[in-house]
């Protein structure tokens, strides 16, 4: 066991870093840049039952220290993913977290059934927080009851541990986390994007064809840190943290807040090598602060602050 390794339900990772869903396709593009087996794991792009084309373009816009996207869950559909995309990842021998989306409960359930049965999939990530589709997505993620119901049903069919990916666009993230914990989730992924918008001041029109989009990148990191910090003290599920991480220091900050592993999204667009570069730097930072194993970082902040900690 190396000092960087972390272990979460279904995910035995040699380091805590995995690309975030939607920012890494199905891996093959980044495989042209570096050896994917360096990664702790991979989160693949959201799978739906049928293939989807997604939203009209433009689908991305730049904001200060962030970006908006409204891809709209474009993907070739679960069967195609199982047949054509996943097998290409087998040689890297790292855990795969399959992100799942749908318009209806039935769709979520069916996709989970199919994808969780693949030996290549280590765990599923229930995306109830996509802000860019009309149906499904965030509508499940902003109501406690629908989120819990969906989690319960998906758990019933899933052959793999289920991580529920939470939306930050809620009044009370802790209640949401507790609702899905009670419904049987094995872990949490947080956060998905904040809903945002950008207009061209000259024309007054939105830049994105979808008008609104999901805000990601360093701009949202303080929100992610806060939510992970609050939730990790009130639930006993491991958290895959994400939101604005782009350096090894950010990874340690997020783990201190309570994350057990960390996903990197937008930063891949800035620097395709960001994940391996972070992984390479982590041991130096741990040395600098005299920490032996990275897993000790999780929740340091509230351990030190003596805040009651009901988790882990």
């Amino acid at each position: 066991m190396s000092r960087l390794s972390v272990s979460l339900p279904g995910l035995n990772m040699k380091n805590p870093i995995l690309p975030a869903s939607g920012c890494f396709g199905f891996g093959k593009e980044y495989a042209k840049w570096y050896d994917l087996s360096l990664l702790g794991g991979i989160t693949i792009k959201a799978a739906t039952l049928e293939g989807r084309f997604g939203n009209p373009t433009p689908r991305v816009a730049e904001t200060e220290s962030g970006m908006l996207n409204a891809i709209g869950l474009q993907n070739p559909g679960v069967i195609n993913i199982l047949e054509n995309e996943l097998p290409a990842l087998e040689p890297y021998n790292i855990p795969i977290l399959a992100n799942i989306a749908g318009s209806t409960e039935e769709e979520y359930i069916e996709v989970t059934r199919q994808i969780s049965a693949s030996p290549l999939v280590s765990a599923v990530e229930l995306n109830i927080s996509c802000p860019n589709v009309k149906e499904g997505g965030i509508q499940f993620g902003t109501h406690y009851k629908s989120a819990a119901d969906l989690t319960r049903q998906v758990k019933q069919v899933s052959e793999k541990p289920v991580y529920v990916k939470l939306s930050p666009n809620v009044s009370n993230i802790v209640e949401m986390a507790q609702a899905v914990e009670a419904a049987g989730a094995d872990g949490l992924s947080m956060i998905n994007t904040l809903i945002g918008m950008k207009l061209d001041w000259r024309t007054g029109k939105p830049i994105l064809a979808n008008k609104t989009g999901g805000l990601s990148g360093p701009a949202i990191k303080p929100v992610a840190i806060r939510m992970i910090y609050e939730v990790s003290q009130k639930v006993s599920l491991p958290i895959i943290g994400m939101g604005g991480v782009s350096t090894a220091e950010d990874v340690l900050e997020m783990m201190s807040a309570g994350a057990s592993a960390v996903a990197v999204g937008t930063a891949n667009f800035v620097n395709p090598y960001v994940c391996p570069e972070i992984i390479e730097k982590l041991p130096d930072l741990l040395d600098e602060i005299g920490v032996r194993n990275i897993s000790e970082m999780t929740g340091r902040s509230f351990r030190q602050w003596k805040t009651p900690l009901s988790s882990r």
Partner: protein
């Protein structure tokens, strides 16, 4: 695929808000196909996160020097325009697939049509076509005389027709207004510019062979994020990614 730090050897305004940037470094040796682009990091820190796709306008392989032409309009390109000689620029590339040069045989003519800031890649393309024996004609469209650039350099390669919207240089009108007479000898068409222009070019071309280079806002620039898709009826998936399947597509392949 590679990320390079290239050194700026010059960065000068050659027309109103149009800058010519020359970059040098070992990565340049990979930039052999016209129509490919570089994904250029504009900021020093994280406030401008997204890279800007800029076409390769010219490459001097011996001197390991690449030329980009860009319009300083938004936040990022304005920052780029303020960089000084000697500063390093972080680029990904060359990315995408360039123009297919195999399809023109020497006896054929080529008609290269560019609008505004779509003009730059036609320069490298024109040079390569000419050196493989093809006779090249350019139609270059600008807003006005003040916005035009590189016209003399194009004239060194082949006949160059300029159109301006206000008529202050060359023909008054759009590039498509100048196409008609050039189509007689059935040239292969290569066109770069805004979507509306490409659509009009495709219509005017009336079934001739040709290639179009598309533009779209990009995230990753390497095919992973699905930001830059374009519908197509010719592929099973129903879409192409402009950054990695393109930016150049055969005429008729994509739905403009």
């Amino acid at each position: 695929m590679k990320k390079h730090l290239l050194r700026i050897t010059s960065n000068t305004e050659i027309a109103r808000n149009i800058f010519e940037m020359k970059l040098t470094g070992s990565g340049v040796s990979l930039m052999t196909a016209p129509g490919q682009f570089l994904h250029v990091s504009v900021g020093k820190d994280s406030s401008n996160l997204l890279r800007r796709p800029l076409s390769i306008c010219d490459v001097d392989l011996d001197r390991e020097e690449a030329t980009l032409l860009y319009r300083a309009q938004g936040d990022g390109t304005k920052q780029l325009s303020q960089k000084n000689n000697g500063e390093m620029v972080d680029v990904l590339g060359p990315l995408g697939n360039g123009f297919n040069l195999d399809t023109v045989d020497q006896n054929k003519n080529a008609l290269l049509i560019g609008g505004g800031i779509g003009v730059p890649p036609l320069y490298y393309l024109g040079k390569q076509l000419k050196s493989s024996g093809v006779q090249v004609t350019f139609i270059l469209g600008y807003q006005s005389k003040e916005d035009s650039f590189y016209v003399e350099k194009f004239q060194e390669i082949g006949e160059t027709i300029v159109t301006t919207v206000d008529g202050s240089q060359g023909q008054k009108g759009f590039v498509t207004d100048a196409m008609e007479p050039c189509l007689e000898d059935e040239p292969v068409i290569y066109s770069v510019g805004p979507g509306v222009m490409l659509k009009a070019v495709e219509e005017r071309a009336g079934g001739l062979d040709g290639y179009l280079s598309l533009e779209e806002r990009m995230g990753c620039g390497i095919g992973a994020c699905f930001a830059c898709v374009c519908p197509t009826e010719t592929r099973q998936s129903g879409y192409v990614k402009i950054c990695s399947d393109g930016p150049v597509f055969k005429m008729g392949e994509v739905v403009l």
